[in-house]
Amino acid sequence: MITSLLASAVPMSGLLAALPVAAVNWHSVLFLLFAAVACACAVAVVLADNVVRMAFYLVLSLAATAGLFFLAGAEFVGAMQLMIYVGGTLVLLVFGVMLTAQAPFVAIKTSTGDRVLAGMVGAALLAVLLQAAFRVEPWRRPAMAAVAAPAATPIGMALLGVRVDEPVAGAPPAAVRSGYLLPFEIVSVHLLVVLVGAAYLARAKRRRTPRAIDVAASSVGPVVTAREAARSSASALASGGQR
């Protein structure tokens, strides 16, 4: 049964091999797929007016970029991108969008003149960058390295201040190559400072004695406006806050 199946499969496979698709390089196809998604969504971020959709396109763009990182052999960076960027930063961003997504702010339009101007400037910038990109190496003639070691452990060791990876061509000698222990520590402290600072900036401003009835009576706007109005009901800021 199986052998007859195999026998019938062989001529078919020969026929398939004759197709020009046989030469397809899957690495390139996947690259094109991810690159197309990343670029299209990045452009869509610019073109979209609705801020929630912008966030959505940005998510797709960054996730596709993570795919590009995986294709480039930078698995750790790709996973980091998915975890911190897409999973952390953008959830935060979407959270912010939701908090401020009152009807008038969902779509703040830009004037057509600004759009045209920005488009021209963008096109010029893109032209310059593409020029530089094509200069780097002949288009479509790279030397494909056969195998590379996965980099997760060397990255971890480098962050601890010890380099165990191979020096690449043109790198400084081994004695000079430094680890990344100091930047790592600086970034850690920086993140802590940012955590405290962001929590301080975004903290809810509460009155000393909350009186819900006054708040409800003084404002019919969104929650934040009500809180704002209650905080300093006499000031001009509060009356300005009630759109």
Binding site: L62, A72, D114, R140, V187
Partner: protein, 130 residues
């Protein structure tokens, strides 16, 4: 004749065939990075929503990251040609980390602005203008 390229003019065929056949190089990545970067810059310039500007910054940083990873990738560079090696990936990691921190602070500032002005339109942020 490939079905994919049958409808295209004859000059387009080698281009498409080459894109599918040839291995991906650094230049491919740089083009993607350039498009991301430009989109980010235009986004920052164009959006009036503060969060839109923030998204533009993320795109710009990401475009730079693509370049770093491309230059460090062992798959895209041949033996002997100069590359960033692991340093590129490490820099990309730090960029991601700092972008996260920057997003948190920028978001906190935006929320604060929203609390005080009940809007996220950055054109309204002109209190300090004499």
């Amino acid at each position: 004749m490939n079905l994919l390229t049958a409808g295209l003019p004859s000059t387009a065929i080698p281009l498409f065939a080459g894109l599918l056949d040839a291995p991906v190089g650094v230049a491919h990545y740089l083009v993607v990075g350039a498009i991301l970067f430009t989109s980010g810059v235009v986004c920052m310039a164009l959006k009036r929503n503060a969060l839109g500007v923030l998204m533009g910054i993320e795109l710009v940083l990401n475009g730079a990251n693509v370049n770093f990873v491309a230059f460090s990738s062992p798959y895209l560079r041949g033996e002997g040609s100069a590359s960033l090696g692991l340093d590129g990936q490490l820099i990309a990691l730090f960029v991601i980390l700092l972008a996260a921190a920057e997003a948190a602070v920028a978001l906190a500032i935006t929320l604060n602005f929203y609390n005080n002005h009940a809007t996220v339109d950055i054109d309204q942020a002109d209190d300090l203008k004499g």
